[in-house]
Symmetry: C2
Subunit: 367 residues, 2 copies
């Protein structure tokens, strides 16, 4: 076996800058990557019950063999573990592990684990170094990068959290082989989003190569993860705390989040909701931002080609859908904001979308 130098994406945030390493076999060399990032002291691995045996326990053993001692804490799998209660439980277990301010927290798993463990890392001893080890496509291209951490309250998602940038991200594409096909496809919704909002060339490449990437052909999937991390890193570098540009990352999410809320976060994957939300947002973009109808069609076809839904189910009714958008924490004083496309590769944030516009588009998206 030859060792291939991993792809390296640098996220520039001054003294909080960090590297994202992307490639095959990264987990087997994790100790070396940690040491290179200055993390050789004691740490804790936080994971869920599914990922624990697959990746977290072998990783703990591999680190131990290289002299890095870590505790291993697992929460039940599933979004319901992304709670203040689980964060509380984890935080109360940390003092017994003998961590100090130079120790690290390693999040091994999907988005739920990354957000929960990130919040724990951001608050224990007022902030420990965080290493993200995303094992799903969604986490590799989105949630592990950018420093948003958080847990849900009964009243809403991500209502409690902190901005806490990782010290290092290890995106090992081998881990995607254990991902259920439906989850892999759901992750593609975010991939398509990056092309749509930021990079028309990448979008065109996806139109040709999505099938190869979905088959996890190494060159294709590595390029997918790398380009998405580059785009997210570039956006976050310009607007770490979402006062402006970073908002474009929410393309498809305004309607998508509302659908997730109405579905009570069951039966619908985040990526599936975003896929439908992007189709609706593309139609709004044709109406309100001058997106050529042909480009909206290309977006819809790429979403469909990735095996993702493009049509809203009958259960999403106005005005309940619009009301759910108004309650989203991104709304300000009840004003709903939309990310629209001027063209493929270029997004803008708009306050001009009315409830009537949304009603019309929701109706079309059922047709």
């Amino acid at each position: 076996m030859t060792t291939v130098e991993p792809n390296r994406v640098r996220v520039s945030l001054g003294e909080r800058s960090y590297d994202i390493l992307i490639g095959s076999g990264l987990l087997t060399r994790a100790a070396a990557h940690l040491k290179q990032a200055g993390l050789s002291r004691r740490g804790v691995i936080i994971t869920d019950a599914t990922v624990e045996s697959l990746y977290a326990a072998p990783l703990q053993a591999a680190l131990h063999a290289h002299g890095i001692t870590t505790g291993l804490l697992a929460v039940p799998a599933g979004e319901s573990s992304k709670s203040l209660r689980q964060a509380h439980r984890l935080l109360e277990q940390l003092p017994a592990l003998g961590l100090d301010r130079k120790s690290f927290v390693m999040a091994v798993g999907g988005g739920m684990v990354g957000d929960l463990a990130g919040f724990v890392a951001g608050t224990y001893l007022r902030g420990l170094a965080l290493v993200q080890v995303p094992t799903t496509l969604l986490a590799q291209v989105d949630s592990s990068v950018g420093g948003k951490t958080g847990v849900n309250l009964p009243q809403g998602k991500n209502l409690v959290g902190v901005f806490h940038q990782p010290r290092l991200v290890l995106a090992d594409t081998d881990t995607l082989r254990s991902l259920p096909e439906r989850e892999l496809r759901a992750g593609f919704a975010e991939v398509i989003k990056y092309g749509a909002i930021y990079d028309a060339d990448f979008f065109a490449w996806l139109e040709r190569e999505t099938a190869a990437a979905l088959r996890l052909e190494p060159a294709a999937i590595t390029r997918v993860v790398r380009r998405c991390c580059e785009i997210k890193g570039a956006v976050v570098s310009q607007d770490e705390r979402e006062s402006g540009l970073r908002g474009i990352l929410n393309f498809g999410h305004t309607i998508g989040h509302a659908m997730e809320a109405l579905a009570d976060y069951t039966g619908l994957l985040h990526g599936e909701a975003v896929a439908m939300g992007m189709c609706a947002a593309a139609k709004l973009s044709v109406k309100r931002a001058g997106l050529p109808a042909g480009e909206a069609g290309r977006l819809e076809r790429l979403i469909a080609a990735s095996g993702l839904p493009t049509r809203l189910g009958q259960k999403y009714e106005m005005p309940a859908l619009f009301e759910a958008m108004r309650l989203d924490k991104k709304a300000q004083a009840g004003q709903v904001r939309f990310v629209l496309l001027k063209r493929l590769g270029e997004a803008l944030i708009s306050d001009a979308v009315t409830e009537a516009d949304v009603q019309e588009v929701v109706h079309e998206c059922r047709g």
Copy 2:
């Protein structure tokens, strides 16, 4: 950091810079100060059961009269409310108040309230604007400034928290009139600390004027609060996250915290523990940092003149005391660090103090 006018201290932290306003009658003009700081949207006041009727409820009414709507949440008085459990309870009550990312959290009370409410402000919606309204001397000169927030775990103090700088601090010296005398005196331990570590002239002024300040004569107490806030602001501006200089603020705290832990945080006020800790640290400074014995004597006399203890009780035994220091979260890899004085007004951080040194000094401090 520059002082713009006598009762305004600016803490310079780039885009996180903020003003501390100090003086009499500030609370009656709170609405105007909030608006000046750009905070006219909805907010929540967090306080404790004691301060609620004294200051928080009248403040809520005064803000309401000026068109600023706030919720009011009170926790039981006392350090036991500074818990993850109370933070959790508060966070779960916030969604019903209709706050958005432009809303503010106002902490009205002593250090416990400021630390707890600051943690809530730092984590709700990934960080809301925080207004500190400290109503004790300790909170006015120390805990309300600098951005440290946190709650205790059963295993130790301040183990969970975030750095979250306030947007504004309103230190109304009128509120000190309702403070029990013992707590006022305890606050003076931190006041004396600032002189000892940073400003020999202020120390000399305190030697002359402490009695007037303890009587809350307006000019004297305002000067005390202002100078302490200037010093803390200057230190924090240079080292927000305590990677170096900020450590000098822990003068007297290494032994002091250990005494508090051994006393199980009951029967001993924080300032009283710091007072005894400073006397011991002064003796260590004579041994290890060249502090003239006469200056150590001046420090001990000023502490005594403020009605604070200078002698350790018999209950603080080695090696338990040293073991408690080792467990403190500021220790790294079990190494205990001490802040020592080279002379009055100049501090340094030392790793050179041995357990034998501490033993000797603890013995002397009983003598």
